[in-house]
């Protein structure tokens, strides 16, 4: 190994800084000078080692953050939950009869929502040639049909910005995915946009899902008003809307 290794040109060469004749000369030297070739190889290994060292150092920091944000918090949360549970049980023993009388007969919004929420069928799988093959869309629909709404919504979000000729459908399925993953605020925003677009083919279906979003949000006044509209206009799912309206009354 040479005593003084010419590192600057090696670095320039590896970082793409050599051009024209300088590059040609260097490449020629690499072919004829085995010591230079060996030094370039060593240089590459040193850079890779430093990169791995950096990765490992950063992972050490991340492990600490993981402990603070996830593991540590879980222990704290469990302790706090135990305390809260103890307090809650005491509270229930004292005030149970009163609470039962107060809430009995009130609509159970979560139950109503769960009884009525079903996904809208996959109409895209019967698509013709007008809709191009799209791996991400297939995967999103697969998650959607398996009720894995969190993964589905992420992919529908990504698809939304693409130029697929089925944008209306993607936004609609995205709204249902938000609702399914327990995010009725976001879902209702999407459904309101669909309803406001008079040319949107999913407008009527969106009314039903918006009503379900309102129920999930415990907003019975808005839900009733929308359900009454659905019944009155004999819109999509009007029979179910009628039954749901009765339950809410």
């Amino acid at each position: 190994m040479k005593e003084h290794i010419p590192l600057q040109p090696i670095e320039q060469y590896l970082e793409g800084g050599l051009k024209g004749n300088e590059l040609k000369d260097f490449e020629k030297s690499l072919e004829t000078d085995p010591e230079l070739a060996a030094t370039v190889k060593d240089y590459k290994m040193a850079v890779k080692s430093i990169d791995l060292y950096g990765r490992n150092e950063l992972k050490k920091r991340l492990r600490k953050i993981h402990h603070d944000e996830i593991s540590g918090k879980n222990i704290l949360v469990r302790r706090q939950l135990l305390k809260i549970a103890a307090i809650f049980i005491g509270f229930l023993i004292v005030s149970g009869p009163f609470l039962y009388n107060h809430f009995y007969g009130q609509p159970k919004y979560q139950n109503l929502y769960e009884q009525n929420f079903t996904i809208y069928p996959d109409i895209l799988s019967q698509r013709g040639e007008a809709i191009p093959e799209n791996l991400m869309l297939d995967e999103a629909m697969s998650y959607y049909k398996n009720n894995d709404f969190e993964n589905a919504s992420v992919l529908f979000e990504a698809l939304d910005s693409s130029d697929l000729p089925i944008e209306d459908a993607i936004i609609f399925y995205r709204g249902i995915s938000y609702l399914g993953e327990g995010n009725p605020e976001k879902a209702s925003g999407i459904f309101k946009i669909i309803i406001s677009d008079t040319k949107n083919p999913f407008r009527k279906q969106a009314e039903w899902y918006l009503a379900l979003s309102f129920i999930n949000l415990k907003q019975p006044v808005e839900a009733k008003s929308l359900l009454e509209e659905i019944v009155k206009n004999k819109s999509w799912n009007h029979a179910k809307a009628y039954l749901l309206l009765e339950e809410l009354e």
Binding site: L7, T39, M45, L52, Y53, K59, L62, E157
Partner: protein, 201 residues
Amino acid sequence: MNLLYSDRKIIEALQSTDDHKTDKAFRMLYQTYFRMAVQFVKSNSGEDDDAEDVFQDVLVSFYQNVRKGVFKGDSAIKTYLYAMIRNQWLVKLKKNKRSVNMEEPERAAESRHVLQRDSTSGELQRMVEGMLDLVSERCREVLKLYYFDNLSMTEIASRAGFDNENSAKTQKYKCMQRLIKLMAEKPELKEHLYELLAADE
């Protein structure tokens, strides 16, 4: 694309030379997206520990992609991280030869999100640390700031307390020269590291 306020903040923090700011960004990423990693990994034949590993590897690669300008916020961080988590986990599954009912890793490799290899192999980690132990702590820091964190020489000078950019540059060359010379003096260590790095390719 308009960046979300929180996405912009995270990118800015990861581009900073201040460890407190980058730590804050990592905490925010943990709080927001770790659950997404757990859910994906666990619904595809993995466990909580796998999700932790995958998520940390993804954050390291994401950090480097931000610092090298590979990720500039052209898509939402959530979408980008999801793709990285998915690809990283597929690569790990392939390595472990575990069967899973999803698309083949070859197809995932077509994605534009290129992940760095997992560097958690214990032996490789020890070898790399052993090799870097050959140079001084200050040298390790300067080399890491340049090659891993992708800091400019001006930023390195400011962060490591050099008088100016040129002093930092000279020091970096000296450190690299020293590392390569020390490696040459330990041919067995060097050869073994070559083999491990090749296996990690």
